[in-house]
């Protein structure tokens, strides 16, 4: 019998790769304890049993021990039967510190259950109560009384397995009860058990959020993300849930946890496509057919024995993963999009992790290493969350930008409007000024201008006496006053005040001529078209009529009434004079003037004269010249 070589103070992860990935773990563990013993050289014997026992008898004294080096893979003998239980015993022989050790730390034991420690002085076993995880992914730390090792200074570590199944065990550590492997055990437990649980919870919450979002917005992208996360959760369950023991449920459990990898890859790719609003129908249909076919074909119901091979499913999953990773990488190379790049990086990292896990499962890698696929889930979830967040932030940003653009457009439009208003106002002012000039010129021509010209003619002929001069000048002043009144009184289209002003002006002259005036006004609507220009025409027409009464009618009464009849306002000037004949030249010319003025503002003048008096009717359309056509 050979004594096991005892190496002291080795790291927990000698293969380096894991050590790098678990840099945090190393930091947490701190320097390697001088007390812990790294055990790689042990002796082994196998005892066959007919049934599982919570506690096995110690190895028989005549057992055949052989030297082995840990980590080790135990391949079953081809004669073994699945009906039997085999109990493996490993004998550890520490050379030093035997009186201190009280804990055995086993980072990984694959397909081994009912672990126990035994010596001639007693035994100890791990009842598994403290761990809910599956034995294959749960580290072991069995405590024992130091007396067990004191003499005969060796310790037997045993565990059972079902016949015809292989077994893997990592190197072992002997340590004090409170030694440094306690921390390492806790960290490993966290990484292998707690972390996958946390990741699952995170993914589920995210999936719920995505489903809720989908329910509100009906964007398929979010449903795909939710489905991918759910598939990931299914995939992660077997890392931390001790699956069913019975054959059929165990098969279904295994089926679900392996085929979910296909779905994860499939949905991840779909997500990436939809995120970029892309669609590759042929590829998508092919992938879906492949995923569904493999999923259905590997159910425990169909061709059970054939598909039982893990290699087939893992091969399919690997094919799918490589296909998706390749496609995403191709998209990235083509588009250089950041989301594609992140997705490709995450997928390539996942592929690397998958290769690592495959190696771990296939015993190419030290069994001390840790399964990394849960981290891959976290990575891909991170990319999902990031891209969705970016999409959301981008949408908000776009909204804000569009608001800014809108503001700018409004500002520009308002400025343009203001400019056009200003131009319009300027044009209107110019037009008003032009109209005013025209009006003034016309007024001067009609009124003062003609009076002055005729007076000048008389003066040059020496025929202008004092009275004629005074009359002429008075007429000029009155005409100016009339012009001013037309601007003052016509404001607001107030015809009554306009004519009232005229009455106020000529009242004295009527009284002086001994003519009594009857003034009758009703309620008259405002005439919006009654501008200063139009008002002056009205004033001149009525003034002419009143002047005729004073000068020619020899009347004692004159009646002026303003009434509304349908759509016209009627101004009536009626006297009780002797009228005038058709041959009455000045009156005839005055009438022509009145008609011309009335026509200019769309009004109508009618004069009826007989021996009982003269009656002048001025009809002003309420709607203005435009409506007077009919």
């Amino acid at each position: 019998m050979k004594r096991a070589n005892l190496a002291s103070c080795a790291t927990d992860a000698p293969r380096g790769r894991v050590a790098l990935l678990l840099a945090a773990a190393t930091l947490l563990l701190g320097a390697c304890s001088q007390d812990a013993l790294h055990v790689t050289q042990v002796q082994m014997t196998v005892v066959r049993s007919d049934r599982y026992l919570p506690e096995h008898p110690p190895p028989p004294a005549d057992a055949q021990w052989r030297d082995i080096t840990l980590p080790a893979v135990f391949v079953p003998h081809r004669d073994e039967s699945a009906e039997h239980v085999y109990y493996t015993w490993l004998r550890v022989r520490p050379t030093q510190g035997v009186d201190r050790f009280g804990a055995l730390y086993v980072p990984r034991l694959l397909h081994g259950s009912h672990p126990q420690i035994a010596s001639t002085r007693g035994w100890s076993f791990d009842d598994g109560v403290h761990s809910l995880g599956p034995t294959w992914n749960t580290p072991l730390r069995i405590l024992f009384l130091p007396e067990l090792l004191a003499s005969p200074s060796h310790l037997d570590f045993g565990f059972s397995r079902r016949g015809a199944s292989s077994q893997v065990i990592s190197a072992l550590w002997l340590d004090r009860v409170d030694g440094s492997t306690l921390g390492r055990y806790r960290l490993r437990y966290f990484l292998q058990q707690d972390l996958p649980r946390l990741i699952s919870a995170t993914l589920l919450v995210f999936a719920l959020f995505a489903v809720g979002y989908w329910a509100l917005r009906r964007e398929p992208l979010y449903l795909i993300a939710a489905a991918a996360m759910a598939a990931w959760c299914v995939r992660l369950v077997h890392y931390y849930v001790r699956g069913p023991v019975e054959d059929v449920p165990a098969d279904w459990f295994w089926w679900a946890s392996t085929t979910s990898m296909l779905w994860v890859m499939h949905l991840t790719y779909l997500f990436a496509l939809r995120l970029h609003e892309l669609s590759v129908p042929t590829l998508e249909r092919g992938m879906l057919a492949f995923t569904v076919a493999v999923t259905l074909a590997t159910t425990p119901l169909v061709h059970y024995e054939v598909w039982r091979s893990a290699t087939v499913i893992y091969l399919a999953a690997a094919t799918m993963a490589l296909l998706v990773t390749g496609a995403v990488t191709w998209h990235f190379v083509r588009s250089r999009g950041r989301a594609w790049g992140l997705m490709a990086a995450a997928l390539w990292a996942s592929v690397a992790m998958g290769v690592h896990d495959l190696g771990l499962r296939s015993d190419w890698i030290d069994p001390q290493s840790i399964y990394l696929m849960p981290l891959s889930a976290l990575l891909i979830f991170g990319v999902f969350a990031y891209t969705i967040l970016e999409r959301y932030a981008g949408a908000i940003g776009a909204l804000e930008r569009s608001n800014v653009v809108l503001d700018e457009r409004v500002t520009v439009a308002r400025r343009a409007l203001e400019e056009s208003y200003a131009r319009l106002a300027q044009v209107q002012a110019e037009q008003a000024a032009a109209a005013e000039r025209e009006r003034l010129v016309r007024d001067m021509h009609d009124g003062i201008g003609s009076a002055l010209a005729s007076s000048l003619l008389l003066a040059e002929q020496g025929r202008l006496n004092d009275k004629a001069t005074a009359d002429m000048l008075r007429q000029c002043i009155e005409d100016l006053r009339l012009t001013i009144d037309s601007t003052d009184a016509a404001a607001g289209g107030d015809l009554v005040t306009l004519l009232a002003t005229l009455r106020f002006r000529v009242g004295n002259r009527l009284a002086a001529a001994g003519i009594a005036m009857t003034w009758e006004v009703g309620e008259i609507p405002p005439l919006p078209w009654l501008t200063a220009d139009a008002a002056l025409q009205v004033l001149r027409i009525v003034q002419e009529a009143l002047t005729n009464v004073i000068k020619h009618a020899r009347a004692s009464r004159v009646r002026l009434s303003i009434t509304q009849a349908d759509d016209v306002v009627r101004v009536l000037i009626e006297d009780n004079g002797h009228g005038f004949g058709a041959t009455d030249q000045p009156a005839g010319r005055g009438l022509a003037n009145q008609r011309r003025r009335a026509a200019a503002i769309g009004a109508a003048v009618e004069v009826r004269s007989d021996a009982t008096g003269t009656r002048v009717t001025l009809d002003l359309p309420i709607g203005g010249p435009a409506t007077a056509a009919g």
């Binding site: 008075r474 002043i477 100016l480 006053r481 009554v496 009232a500 002003t501 009455r503 106020f504 004295n508």
Partner: protein
């Protein structure tokens, strides 16, 4: 009865002569003084109180409105008439707000300007429809437009009575004082009293507004 003393402020020498001749011909009025510019008038008004002030607006040194304002402030009982060529709305309103209670048209000279002075002294001045309308708009302003300035100014400003308002409305529609008296079944003299009161209220109101506006400007400057 003691003749009315009249102060004439007129820069045109021919008009001054025409006025002087006209006053000389009657014995119920006498020309107390004649000023050719505003400064002269202000100095005279600081010393003596006329019964009637006749003021032209276009004076060579200061605005005729200044003379009117000064006279209205110093001698509230004095009748103030503004002399205007056209009797246009802007000039008449400004004069009324400054304190005038009537106006004379220049072309009424020299024939019949004495009568309006007598009428004014007796109670009322002729009121043109345009001015009446303008007065209505001005005195009704708080009800018509809710401008803060107007509202606040209105607090201290007297309101027109219903009869005064009706009188203004009828004048704006062209009815003369006799017709208004008949329509209201009151005497012509009462109508004239209304008109006079309206002028007084306008004057008070204008002062209130001026004070208010000055305060506003002061506040703004603060």
């Amino acid at each position: 009865m003691k003749p009315l003393s009249v102060l004439l402020v007129e820069d045109d020498a021919q008009f001054r002569d025409a006025f002087a001749r006209a006053f000389a011909a009657v014995d119920d009025m006498r020309l107390a003084a004649t000023c050719a510019n505003g400064g002269e008038a202000l100095r005279w008004l600081a010393q003596s109180a006329p019964d009637v002030l006749l003021a032209d607006l276009g004076l060579p040194d200061i605005d005729g409105l200044e003379v009117i304002r000064d006279c209205a402030r110093r001698h509230p009982d004095c009748e103030i008439m503004v002399i205007t060529v056209f009797g246009d709305e802007r000039h008449v309103m400004e004069a009324l707000e400054a304190g005038a209670t009537g106006y004379l048209l220049k072309d009424a000279l020299p024939r019949d300007f004495l009568e309006p002075i007598r009428a004014l002294r007796a109670g009322g001045s002729p009121l043109s429809p345009v001015i009446a309308r303008r007065l209505l708009a001005k005195m009704m302003a708080p009800a018509a437009a809710a401008q803060p300035v107007t509202v606040v100014a209105a607090e201290g400003a007297p309101m027109l009575s219903a009869r005064e308002l009706q009188t203004l409305e009828l004048v704006a529609k062209g009815f003369d004082y006799d017709e208004i008296a008949r329509l209201h079944a009151i005497s012509r003299q009462t109508v004239l009293t209304y008109v006079k009161r309206i002028f007084r209220k306008l004057q008070v109101r204008s002062k209130t507004e001026a004070v208010y506006e000055a305060r506003q400007l002061g506040l703004v400057r603060d």
